[in-house]
Symmetry: C2
Subunit: 498 residues, 2 copies
């Protein structure tokens, strides 16, 4: 067995090397590359992806997996998990013909161009025929797989291993009325002041402040770095090289700070995975939702909490004395937690964010089922925005055209953002049971016990456990909305005096 | 034919994509990577190199080349050149067993570590057993190829396609006595003053000055960028993404300026190659010597010339008024061309540099022939340094251990540096016949006609012509030492009043 396992690990190690090399090229493309290099870089990435795919779906890898599966059946060891995850990925990859992948690359590349133009001109009709092709492709993709309880399950499984559409719907159904109700209560309450957040802040000082914060969090700079890029993101080339990016927005300067905390949460997850999982299918976070639970936890449950600012606010005020002149900590805390139903998902606050996601999930399921036609999306979008958030987009750029995801063929992705919020609160309740006086630790700028808990319970396991399995192991329950509702209700009741 | 050519180009395009991806990873390793990422990066690079090799030496590529060779035999077209260069590279690659490449990687990796330690402690005995293994491997490598006129030919051909050991020896034999004589005359003459070059200069201002200079040269920033790295180098991922690096040395600040010009010369070569050669074996410079001719031309024949400084010196003096207080342009010009026989190759001036190379070539040939034993290298090194340059290293770190090349298995490389000097002067004579008043153009900071000449005569051809063939096409003669001797003699006669 050991010899076959070594052979499989060698094969999969090569595939991982190629994928990691591609990640370096992708990072470079965002961070450094002169734009003239775009076409050649696209070609290089296409070649690497094709070779990784060929190497992975080879008959030899299939035979090794088959043999090892029988020998390791049911075991709880790392080796058994490795073979289990490899088998699942192999089966999925083998079902998708290379010709489909090539077609998809062409369709989504054109759809992306069209989306850029459509959003620029706020004209959905430019994007519509491309999105129709994307939906056709998605339906074709689903047809490669055995029938599931719901056709959308196949898509969801690519982002959230093992998760079912019905589960997500049940979770969201439990969440929606409570969140809508909370938002109504908040919007009827006395509003908080936040104008001082939008003054002119010095970019370098804010970025440096962010660096100080995530250094205290425990982001390991010896195994990473931060650069400027058009969009903030985290990317890992292996456990010892996990990088993040940041950006500065003139009209929303403090976003830099929160997005830095957010990306550091992703990065600390990747830095905390067992090094022996490197170059195996167990490397990387177990799902997008669990990944998002880490970024949201550091950004929101830590970074937008009162104890956090009891530690950091004096330094922030010292750094920006004129901007924060006369602003007490309570006022600042309320401002960074201001709730305002708005049009754009990425700018949404904690209370309204999930509703943006639910809307998208309903549209996606409708498109996959064939109930919702692409041409009707703008109207349905606007109706639902009014229903959930009480706002109506003035145009499609601020409505149905705002997100990049569909243009790239990523249908099935969105709900992981909301699930990540739920998981972060669910873990937070457990963490606060396990760590006595966590608030006091945070108030002292001490995050080591928190990070150690996350390392031990979440990070180190990589992809060994499926997301629902992992959450249940740690909290005693699968993903559930109650902790998030409790968290929101408590927090906003205090802030808005509900 | 066209179908087979397309097939071959597709296969070779993939190989080029992988090689270019590896170059991105290599650049990142030098410029950005946290050092903790080193081991994984080495693994990623090893995998890419292995896959590129496998894809290249496949039987299918061999069959396509064989068929196309017969059909395109003797033609002067780009297509015929592509197949010719591919055939040559294929034949060389097929002769070297993968097991040898793996062995070489292990041996040179250990040799590199040992060299680092040996140089640090200035103790050749640490490096000796590793270098002995490297020499054994080099001899084994030679044995894979058909007997040549000289066993060293096989090594030389890897760096300088088509060049023979006897040719290099004849060139160097013509050069050595004249260069030794010139140096003797210079060292007996009144010495020039250069202390002001070693004052404290501001790093950023110097780097910015270098950026201004190479912008005027014609380095295309839309298709490149400059970063800081421990060693200056140039690297190309395709014709639209050609990057350079720079460094700052406290004790030799102006080196930044000259090394920036040097790397820009390499980079403008790569930026000038026909875009249709991208992803084919015709991409990239045709040889190390021709590449070096471009870097040395911009660094020395342009960048250390009086007309160049007639344009730039006022600005430099403006930037560094205190450092250059009372230093007239003639004094400055003499200082940056000061000749001083010294121990370290990379710091050598134009008059002495080639002698450092000749010494190394003699030792390499001696090792390959089995006439010189590794254990005797330090003694022979020191004797020859005294003979050629009149200096003796106080220790091996400043002698036989100074260069990285042998530790990486690169035997056969050094002479291309000296050949590059010769080619730069040989081209320069021709350029000055073709471009009227080039000195006046340089005096006005106008380099466009010079760059256009280089583009047309050298750059655009990529690897279409072998180096000797290219030099002969352009200058009417193969590589010859006379122009360089004339250049040195004229320049230093004026500077030192010989």
């Amino acid at each position: 067995m050991s010899a076959k396992l070594e052979q499989l690990k060698e094969k999969l190690g090569e595939v991982a090397d190629i994928a990691n090399a591609a990640s370096v090229l992708g990072w470079d493309q965002q961070v450094n590359m002169p734009s003239a290099g775009n076409e050649a870089r696209g070609q290089q990435l296409a070649t690497l992806s094709k070779i990784a795919q060929e190497k992975f779906i080879s008959d030899e890898v299939g035979r090794l997996i088959e043999d090892l599966k029988q020998e390791l059946n049911g075991a709880d060891s790392d080796e058994a998990a490795l073979v289990r995850v490899a088998a699942r990925n192999y089966d999925k990859a083998r079902r998708v013909p290379p010709s489909f992948i090539a077609e998809q690359a062409v369709v989504t590349s054109r759809a992306f161009e069209a989306w850029m133009e459509a959003r620029g001109k706020s004209d959905f009709s430019i994007f519509r025929p491309h999105l129709e092709k994307v939906v056709e492709l998605v339906q074709k993709y689903i047809s490669f797989f055995p029938p599931a309880d719901h056709p959308y399950d196949t898509l969801l499984d690519d982002y959230e291993r093992g998760m079912k559409t019905a589960e997500v719907q049940a979770i969201f159904d439990g969440l929606r009325p409570k969140q809508v109700e909370l938002i109504k209560a908040i919007t009827s309450a006395k509003q908080v002041k936040a104008d001082f957040l939008y003054k002119k802040y010095n970019e370098k000082k804010l970025v440096d402040f962010g660096v100080d914060v995530i250094t205290k969090f425990g982001y390991d700079w010896k195994r990473g770095r931060q650069d400027k890029a058009p969009h903030p993101f985290e990317t890992a080339f292996n456990v010892n090289d996990v990088r993040i990016t940041t950006r500065f927005e003139e009209d929303n300067p403090l976003a830099t700070l929160f997005s830095t905390m957010h990306e550091s949460g992703h990065a600390m997850y990747e830095q905390g995975i067992k090094p022996v999982y490197d170059r195996t299918p167990l490397s990387g976070g177990t799902s997008l939702a669990v990944h998002e639970s880490q970024s949201r936890m550091w950004e929101n449950l830590v970074g937008r909490s009162l104890p956090f600012w009891e530690h950091f606010y004096p330094a922030l005020k010292n750094t920006f004395p004129s901007q924060l002149d006369g602003v007490g900590i309570k006022v600042f805390y309320k401002a960074i937690n201001k709730v305002e139903p708005s049009l754009i998902r990425v700018n949404a606050d904690e209370a309204t964010y999930n509703l943006h996601i639910m809307l998208r999930l309903e549209l996606e399921i409708g498109m996959v089922e064939g109930r919702i036609a692409v041409k009707d999306l703008p109207e349905i979008w606007n109706t639902k925005m009014q229903e959930y958030l009480g706002v109506t987009p003035p145009n499609d750029a601020k409505g149905v055209l705002q997100d990049i995801h569909w243009s790239g063929g990523s249908i099935g992705y969105f709900s992981t953002y909301a699930l990540g919020n739920l998981v972060s609160a669910q873990l937070w309740e457990k963490i606060n049971k396990d760590i006595r006086g966590l608030d006091d630790q945070i108030r002292k700028g001490n995050f080591s016990e928190l990070l150690a808990w996350l390392r031990r319970n979440i990070h180190e396991h990589g992809q060994k456990y499926e997301p629902q399995e992992l959450v249940e192991r740690v909290t005693g329950s699968k993903i559930t909305p109650e902790p998030y509702v409790r968290y929101l209700t408590k927090k906003y009741s205090e802030i808005y005096g509900l």
